[in-house]
């Protein structure tokens, strides 16, 4: 286990101790102290996962998140001081996979990093191609084709779609999806699900405002339209 993690954090103490904790957990860590440096390091040597502070000098964490998403499907974990504010929601909508609230304990961070990496691993149960409404979901190749053209999904988006599509018509509660896709055993943030569904719709629906595939079941959760 020597996955490479890029840690972008401006506070030297937090950066050092987090590096220590991640290294002890078996990761190879590269660090950057501001957004611009973080983006440069990301381009110089693409890591397996990015841990990104929201508040960064030079280039804001949200801006870095947007830039990385433009060129890569790498899992992104946001570090946020304010779990309840729009920062988290914006980060998730920009494509972050998960977030950890400051202050955090290292085992908590390590667990979230591992969960994100597990999602990103191409090792998916089942090899049957699932076809649904013009989409072909290929678990073996870890890719999705829409009308024959490949769509770039992040690992989290891919697993969310596969989970929903594997049992069409079944309604999934947000809690169940948090457990199955994000690996939160309990008390996950349902905004993770909502943001990911929104991102998925933007990629797979003809009209994301009038979804035909990924349906909201009012007051319960989500399901995929059968057929």
């Amino acid at each position: 286990m020597d996955e490479r993690v890029l840690l972008v954090e401006d506070d030297a103490s937090i950066r050092e101790v987090t590096t220590l904790g991640l290294e002890r957990a078996g990761f190879r860590v590269t660090t950057a102290a501001d957004g611009r440096e973080g983006l440069a390091r990301f381009r110089a040597a693409p890591p397996d996962l990015v841990v990104l502070d929201v508040m960064l000098p030079e280039l804001d964490g949200l801006e870095v998140c947007r830039e990385i998403r433009r060129e890569s499907r790498v899992p992104i974990l946001m570090l946020s001081a304010k779990a309840d504010t729009v920062d988290v929601v914006v980060g998730l909508e920009l494509g972050a996979d998960d977030y950890v609230t400051k202050p955090f304990e290292l085992p908590e961070l390590v667990a979230r990093v591992r969960a994100a990496l597990r999602r990103a691993s191409t090792d998916v149960p089942g090899t049957e191609v699932v076809s649904i409404g013009g989409l072909e979901i290929d678990p073996d190749g870890f890719r999705v084709l829409k009308d024959g053209r490949e769509i770039a999904l992040t690992a989290t988006e891919f697993r969310l779609l596969l989970e929903l599509a594997s049992r069409p018509r079944q309604v999934f509660t947000r809690e169940l999806l948090l457990e199955r896709v994000w690996n939160y055993e309990y008390l996950g943030d349902s905004r993770l699900v909502d943001a990911a569904v929104q991102r998925l719709r933007a990629k797979i629906e003809d009209d994301p405002k009038e979804p035909k595939l990924l349906l909201t079941v009012r007051g319960v959760g989500y399901r995929v339209a059968a057929g």
Binding site: I14, G21, K102, P211, V217
Partner: protein, 483 residues
């Protein structure tokens, strides 16, 4: 604040009525007085004239009676006109008119005349007023009565009365109009002042009354404005002080966040290495880890309370299975099996993260102070969901109970606890934000019970999905969430 609504214009009405009464009564008294005086004079005049004429007539009759008898007397007198003559002597009677006869002479007058006096009396014959004067012709047995028609006099008096009545009515009406206008003008500043006071009470602190007149109302308006100035100054100063204090809390929390984040991460790293530390260093390291945990809770609570004060975050509603959430909170605290849960299935529309904070605090309290015995009961009651968290701990003394939801309030200042002293304050503010409330009941030595009441009502602006699509043929989930 009890709303005491007063119908405006009552005083104006009273003033107007008073005006009408004073002017109307004076005019009426004056009119009635003059009418009575005029009437008395006119009636007395009429009598005097009738008696003068009668005396003269009787003398004349005395000269005629010898020649023409009764008939001659009546005919002679009738030529003088203006009255109707009735003459009687013994059983014999004669009248100058067909409509008036001996029978119309009032008996009282007849008696007076029989005694030889000159008398008069007023009678009404067939609706017409008459003055009857009568007397005995000197040195004869002949009584002669003169019926003077007073219809014209009566008509005049009636006309006068009508004019006076109309006059009184006009005066009263005029008084009413003048009174209304005067009352309105006088009371206008009062109405304005009442309007101003109300808008001041509603929070428009810049409300002032224009000082227009140099009278009592002007002075009053000036005083009112002084009071409003003072009030506005006080409130502005107060809210500035409050927002300074809140900004300070928020700044402190934010400045503490970065070092505390580093401390928490460092402590968690240290915690894994406690076993391998030399014995001398191990105990201090353990204490350090525990104290960093307390500091973390304090900073997190400070940040949350300053966010609540800023009121920047609206509740985010989504369906929440209360029983499942309670179980998750208990599991998260590592207290599986330590708390008895007695639940009715309740699903409500609420903010999951805030509910989690409230329940986490209550569960944490029950575990810490509960004396090892805690229970949670979830019931749906009258459109509310009620969560009762009770324990069998030492309880909260009655004098401390009303203060447990105050910030930094600690029942026993010497007792150190893992809490920040903000937990219950935050829990209650979150409960209020969700449209519910949180209460505490306790008996010394009998344990404590916290009751959280929440509205179940589904809100239409539940923002739990980016795209809301009603989906009627949806199946219920076959797996029950995270339980």
């Amino acid at each position: 604040m009890p709303e005491r609504r007063v119908t405006p214009g009552r005083l104006r009405l009273r003033l107007t009525i008073a005006f009408i009464l004073v002017a109307g009564l004076s005019a009426a008294a004056l009119a009635a007085g003059s009418y009575l005086v005029v009437r008395e004079n006119r009636l007395a005049d009429s009598v005097e004239r009738a008696l003068d004429q009668s005396r003269f007539n009787l003398v004349l009759a005395g000269e005629v009676v010898g020649e023409g008898g009764i008939r001659g007397v009546v005919e002679a007198l009738q030529r003088r006109g203006e009255f109707t003559t009735v003459a009687s002597s013994g059983g014999d009677a004669f009248s100058s008119s067909l409509s008036i006869g001996q029978g119309d002479v009032p008996g009282e007058l007849a008696g007076l005349v029989a005694r030889g006096d000159l008398g008069h009396q007023r009678v009404t014959l067939r609706g017409a007023p008459y003055l009857v004067a009568g007397g005995r012709v000197p040195e004869s047995e002949l009584d002669v009565y003169f019926f003077f028609d007073e219809q014209e006099l009566q008509d005049e008096l009636d006309q006068l009365r009508t004019i006076l009545l109309v006059g009184v009515a006009l005066v009263a009406l005029l008084a009413g109009i003048v009174g209304w206008i005067l009352a309105r003008r006088t009371l206008a500043p009062v109405a304005r002042a009442s309007e101003a006071a109300r808008s001041l009470a509603e929070g428009l602190l810049e409300t002032r009354i224009p000082v227009e007149r140099a009278d009592e109302f002007g002075a009053w308006a000036a005083s009112f404005n002084e009071m409003a100035d003072a009030l506005q100054g006080k409130i502005v100063a107060l809210s500035q002080a409050q927002s300074r204090e809140r900004r300070f809390t928020s700044d402190v929390a934010h400045e503490l966040r970065t070092p505390v984040t580093a401390l928490v991460a460092e402590a968690s790293l240290l915690a894994e290495q406690l076993e391998s530390l030399p014995p001398d260093a191990r105990r201090p390291a353990e204490l350090l880890v525990a104290d960093v945990g307390r500091l973390r809770v304090l900073v997190a609570d400070l940040m949350e309370i300053s966010r609540l004060d800023a009121g920047a975050e609206p509740a985010r509603l989504e369906p929440v299975d209360l029983g499942a959430l309670v179980s998750a909170v208990i599991r998260d605290r590592g207290a599986d099996g330590q708390i008895r849960v007695d639940e009715e299935p309740v699903i409500l529309e609420s903010d999951r993260r805030r509910l989690e904070r409230i329940l986490g605090n209550l569960v944490g309290n029950a575990l810490e102070h509960g004396g090892g015995e805690a229970a949670i009961r979830i019931v749906a009651k009258d459109g509310s969901a009620v969560v009762e968290v009770s324990d069998r701990g030492p309880g909260i003394p009655a004098e401390h109970l009303p203060h447990v939801f105050e910030r930094f309030y600690k029942a026993d200042p010497s007792r150190t606890s893992a809490g920040s002293g903000l937990g219950l304050a935050i829990a209650r503010e979150n409960a209020c934000l969700l449209g519910g409330d949180l209460e505490a009941a306790s008996e010394d030595g009998q344990g404590t019970r916290f009751t959280l009441r929440l509205p179940v009502t589904r809100s239409l602006h539940a923002g739990h999905g980016p795209d809301e699509r009603p989906d009627d043929d949806a199946e219920r989930p076959s797996e029950g969430g995270s339980r």
